[in-house]
Symmetry: C2
Subunit: 354 residues, 2 copies
């Protein structure tokens, strides 16, 4: 919907583009804002160049480099929001877990957290002491950016799975074994991660993050009855602790279509959606909340006309949303041609009225 | 619901237990029947013993051994249905694909099917010529069994992912790349698998299978709009071709909660459910169809009382179903203690009125 003539909108946007924040709050916007999960990442040759000289963890801990890669998709692809370059497991390392990234495997915790003793060893860290590079990156970015900056953390359940499994997993046997046979120990671990996440996200907000996203990448492995006991209460607690900052909170439960009714009770302002659900169906279920999503990241491979048509349909399906931030239903894949991402950004902008 | 006194029910069941088939048809039953996906499998020491002497593929091709392992969970755990011991990819091998099973990896197709030439090389095989061991297993089992025998095949989309990816996959990049950039080739591959599956399942029905399940293990990676174009029409075609046999057809789209409204149009009599959805919510959406499912397979690890309580709740949630076959929401995990599976079977029987 067009509130002002295009020339004026464009001039305002050139100074400070707040379209993303408005959409989060369910306010009217001149067009649908878009950003992409993992938009600063391996699909960009410019990112690969920076990454070529440092390890992934070194990159995460170098504010200047983090600023550089965070800005790349904004400049190159015209995204309407920036997301802090970091990793959800940085906080787990700050809690005392040994974190490694193995090429072709992903994150690895060589020492797992499956018993009382190992859980007791984890600390609730002061984020300014243990992750000052994150706060510094946020402060530096705010000086550079003309679009809002999103900070983030992993949801406690998702972080717990990595600590318990020792990395990623196909079936999460150890996580569920702990849930079902040692629920008290599981809750103890969740409590500790939750306390740490609260301090971490509060520090990000104080450093200048203008929105915060909580990534629950593995929530979708839970039956709704288990999600409501083992995962959701911790997300609710975190979001409550962030209300004082009055910035939008986005909760993204990956593969969470059957958890939507519960996710709505998280307290988040925006509900992230993966690509598995028709966004119109999701809008009906989330009620007066903004939604973020949800094209299949691999649909970016479609020929230009088909991609634009699919984006047009998605925008139309989402038309009754109380705020829609266009995004992929998951992180952009490393083999995606950047020019296809640009086609998508332009299509969202043009077809939604920019 | 109790139709006859328990003593009589028990006597009827001792001769031929048709509870499963009745539930599939939405008829009243004296108790809720139960079987478990992968019930003949690695969690059973008795299975491991048989498997110790042969490779997985040799086992699949030895009717006597297949009969032995198919019967194990019926005898040991008191299941209400048997499922043919085989693998969905046996048919792909019969179509001309080279199939290997690598320890710790799973199925591997060393030669992938990603171009016209490779797809053209696949044949539509005569099942009695290429997979006689499957039909022989069915004929032998029917002589032994006092519970109904389920035959099965993979859904074309799921089978196609294995051929295209060369095995299992985390993100199915190659599959979607073909879908989105070479849809005609993708449909050609699907047509060929579909024709083969029709002949294969018809042969199973003729050999004596009393129900047929179509496993769509990877349907859940598709957005609903893509599922309805690239997967569902082929399932519909298969099910239509099986109507002449007048036996129940079960369609199980794993991770398919958002596909339920579409799955109902598959023509299947029974809709399989994974554990991610509350079964009561699913029942409301499938209408006058039987449902099969859907406890989290890992919930079998719960202490006895908690497991029985969860089963009781699930039975209660499913009470308005037009037929309910209790099952896991996915295959039983190899590390599950068999005695826990037995607790579940007994709980389902007792709590539903046997």
């Amino acid at each position: 919907m067009q509130l002002y003539p295009k020339e004026i909108t464009k001039k305002i946007d050139d100074i400070m583009n707040e379209t993303f924040l408005k959409a989060c709050r369910g306010e009217k916007t001149n067009y649908t804002p878009i950003w992409m999960m993992r938009q600063a990442g391996r699909y960009l040759p410019e990112y690969q160049k920076v990454r070529g000289n440092v390890t992934f963890l070194e990159l995460c801990k170098s504010p200047e480099l983090c600023v550089e890669v965070t800005l790349q998709p904004i400049d190159l692809l015209n995204m309407d929001a920036a997301i802090l370059f970091s990793d959800i497991l940085i906080l787990m390392e700050a809690m005392g877990a040994t974190l490694e990234f193995h090429e072709g495997v992903g994150p690895v915790f060589p020492k797992t957290f499956r018993d009382e003793e190992s859980v007791d060893r984890l600390r609730v860290p002061d984020p300014d002491d243990t992750t000052p590079f994150v706060m510094e990156t946020i402060r530096l970015l705010r000086k550079e950016l003309k679009v809002p900056l999103i900070g983030f953390a992993g949801a406690p359940f998702t972080c717990a799975t990595y600590l318990i499994e020792g990395g990623s997993s196909k079936v999460f046997w150890e996580t569920k074994k702990m849930m079902f046979t040692s629920p008290e120990l599981f809750h103890k671990l969740m409590d500790k991660i939750t306390e740490s996440t609260i301090l971490y996200l509060q520090a990000q907000a104080r450093a200048g993050a203008q929105a915060l996203q909580i990534f629950d990448s593995w929530a979708g492995i839970l039956a709704p009855c288990d999600f409501s006991v083992f995962a959701l209460p911790y997300v609710q607690k975190i979001i409550k602790s962030l209300q004082q900052f009055d910035i939008p909170i986005i909760y993204f439960a990956n593969n969470g279509a059957t958890l939507l009714d519960l996710s709505v009770t998280s307290g988040a302002d925006v509900i992230g959606l993966d690509w598995r659900i028709n966004i119109g169906d999701a809008v009906k279920r989330v009620g007066k909340k903004a939604v973020q999503g949800n094209i299949d990241p691999f649909a970016l491979l479609l020929p230009k006309d088909a991609l634009r048509e699919r984006i047009g349909r998605l925008l139309d399906d989402a038309k009754d949303a109380h705020g829609h931030i266009f995004n992929l239903g998951h992180g952009i894949h490393q083999f995606t041609p950047p020019e296809q991402a640009r086609i998508a950004v332009d299509a969202v902008h043009e077809l939604s009225g920019r």
